[in-house]
């Protein structure tokens, strides 16, 4: 990465400037660090939206640039959330258990402590022992490693099998949906080791910072999310620029031709698929502590489809498009489903947006795909070209 990289991508500078100003504005208006004009829960909503933007630019790279319509990237996002959630839940329960046992006359053995933590966590699903996948849950560094390793390895193995067999197009999309569905169904089971449909909860409480108010915790996560988005944006902008970007876009447009140029197309797809899965995992790990809870419904196949909708509405093949699409659709979604939009009385039938929002979203998706494939990002391009 040298100066010419930024020079060749003025949109990166624009985006970073915009994100910086936005972050500063939120900081100045938040409860913990500013005037308190915006509530802590809204800071969390904004922070979560930044994480969604991060997974959306990953989706744009894999789909918009490389042409792989993955309908499974939200699964990687969820895995990242589960991975960090395991440590958050373990460490917090450990604090509580140690505290309550401290009153005992005979000091508890490590085994007793461990059993007590396990029965606290797994009581809801009728278990009292740690499943093997919790082996590293006591350690933050190891669990952070899992945030990148598990989505990365899953994407690597899945991608290797799929790309090697030259599964492409709609078949690949179906395969990624199947992977997502299988994962969420598995997690719904009580004996999955991740508390079934209860999921992991209390994730907003950060162990070791019990006395820090949520208004401050939310700010730190907001900053971390903004930083992650900035770094992710730079990373992806670098990957899709220059010769790599050239090859990736060529694979999207005509992969057979790329093969005859001597490029091993499958390796490139695997690289892009895995890299974006890892970033999706990191985005998830930042999102769920702000959400406070993660459960298998989060990984439902529909979530990955939403991701594709955001990117499509924002305009494929331009990173800022993915950000625009995500912000626009999530804001519109909360306006329509949160009672912001007035119901429309047709006399014989009342359109209630809480029910009809999804229909509207679906129609917008179809309309954008058919009539405005450049999406919202295309508008930005037009304005930028004029000025």
């Amino acid at each position: 990465m040298n100066r010419s990289f930024i020079a060749r991508n003025p949109s990166v500078l624009w985006f970073l400037a915009f994100l910086g100003i936005f972050t500063l504005a939120v900081t100045l208006m938040a409860e913990a660090t500013g005037t308190g004009f915006i509530s802590t829960s809204f800071v969390k909503t904004l922070g979560k939206t930044l994480c969604l933007c991060l997974v959306a630019i990953a989706m744009d790279v894999v789909w918009g640039y490389c042409g792989i319509l993955s309908l499974g990237h939200f699964a990687f996002f969820g895995i990242g959330g589960y991975a960090i959630g395991m440590w958050l839940m373990y460490a917090r329960t450990e604090t509580i258990v140690t505290y309550s046992m401290a009153a005992q006359v005979v000091p508890p053995s490590p085994q007793e402590v461990s059993d007590a933590i396990a029965s606290q966590i797994f009581g809801v699903v009728g278990a009292s022992e740690f499943p093997p996948i919790w082996a590293f849950a006591h350690s933050l560094p190891l669990q952070l490693l899992m945030v990148v390793l598990v989505p990365g390895l899953l994407a690597l193995v899945f991608g290797w099998l799929a790309f090697r067999s030259r599964v492409t197009g709609v078949y690949l999309s179906i395969l990624t949906q199947a992977m997502t569905l299988a994962l969420s169904l598995y997690l719904f089971q009580n004996d999955s080791g991740l508390r079934g449909n209860n999921g992991l909860s209390g994730l907003q409480n950060i162990p070791g910072f019990e006395s820090t108010p949520q208004s401050m915790v939310s700010m730190v996560f907001f900053w971390a999310s903004a930083l992650a988005l900035a770094l992710g944006y730079i990373l992806f902008a670098w990957v899709v620029s220059g010769k790599m970007g050239s090859v990736i876009r060529a694979i999207r447009d005509d992969e057979t031709r790329v093969r005859f140029l001597g490029y091993h197309v499958e390796s490139y797809k695997l690289f892009v698929f895995t890299l974006t899965a890892v970033i999706a995992g990191i985005a998830g790990a930042l999102y769920y502590p702000q959400a406070g809870i993660i459960n298998p419904a989060e990984i439902a196949p529909i979530a990955s489809i939403y991701l594709a909708v955001w990117v499509a509405i924002g305009g494929r093949g331009r990173l800022y498009g993915a950000v625009l699409g995500t912000v626009f659709v999530t804001l519109a979604s909360s306006w329509f489903t949160g009672g912001g939009a007035p119901d429309i009385d047709l006399g014989f039938y009342t359109i209630q947006w809480t029910d009809w929002w999804l229909v509207l979203l679906g129609l917008s998706f179809v309309a954008v795909t058919l009539f405005a494939p450049q999406g919202l990002g295309g508008l930005v391009d037009k304005i930028a070209r004029k000025s």
Binding site: V239, K243, M244, S246, R249, D253, F260, G262, Y263, Y268
Partner: protein
């Protein structure tokens, strides 16, 4: 006499029982220019598919290079890296990218994802691109998207991309199709020039074009070699006359 670069022997391939290539044998040396002619459906494109790894033959051998290694079982990209470049019948360039980007992608350089990710533009690379653009008459179009080029220019860009790959063997499928007479003449020059330092196989329908290439000609029919020799030799062959008139 030049050394054998590529040798096919007893190669057959059938699609749903139909023998598209029937115990075909073929040799080309380095450097050499060779024209392949034959009626529609003779198996000319399939012949190229076999060499480039797109189609696996049912039987036979395809041997390559000084050591005579087998190309069968190698992937398309590995065969391309061995030094075999191919131009398709329908011009296929990356229309959304500039002429320069198209050429840069084709330049002979390491092809792994990490090599490409960390690739730094070099002076040598830029010079090569200028040189090839010069040869193919695309100097003024380097910054244009390839999609804006005329049909003939796209064909040349594709030939330019092949040259950038610096292949030892160049397979060119019907390069003159849809070209104006002037464009054809320029294309002929490019191919003759390229064949001075490497093996070039040109598939073509048009006898006039082949005559201008002024090289050895192989006539394919129903998946095997019908005749081989100079253009005058093969066109006076009664079997060849029958195949062409009987079309």
């Amino acid at each position: 006499m030049s050394k054998t670069l590529l040798e096919l022997s007893g190669v057959s391939v059938s699609f749903d029982g139909f023998k598209a290539i029937n115990s075909l044998s073929f040799q080309i040396g380095e450097p050499e220019l060779r024209a392949i002619i034959g009626p529609n459906g003779a198996g000319k494109t399939t012949f190229m598919d076999i060499i480039t790894g797109k189609t696996k033959p049912d039987e036979g051998h395809v041997l390559w290079g000084d050591k005579g290694i087998s190309l069968l079982g190698m992937s398309e990209s590995a065969i391309a890296r061995e030094g075999i470049g191919r131009k398709f019948q329908k011009p296929t360039v990356f229309e959304a990218q500039t002429v320069r980007e198209n050429l840069a992608m084709a330049l002979k350089n390491p092809r792994g994802p990490f090599d490409v990710l960390l690739y730094k533009k070099t002076k040598h690379g830029a010079e090569r691109i200028e040189e090839i653009a010069e040869q193919t008459g695309l100097t003024d179009s380097l910054t244009r998207p390839a999609g804006e080029l005329s049909h003939g220019q796209k064909q040349w860009l594709e030939i330019g991309m092949l040259l950038a790959q610096e292949p030892r063997l160049l397979l060119v499928d019907e390069p003159a199709a849809g070209m104006t007479p002037a464009e054809r003449e320029k294309t002929t020059e490019m191919l003759v020039e390229a064949a001075k330092t490497r093996a070039v196989v040109v598939v073509e329908h048009d006898m006039e074009f082949v005559r201008r290439l002024n090289c050895k000609v192989t006539v394919l029919n129903e998946g095997s070699v019908l005749a081989e020799g100079s253009i005058d030799h093969v066109t006076s062959n009664p079997q060849v006359i029958e195949v062409y008139l009987g079309r």
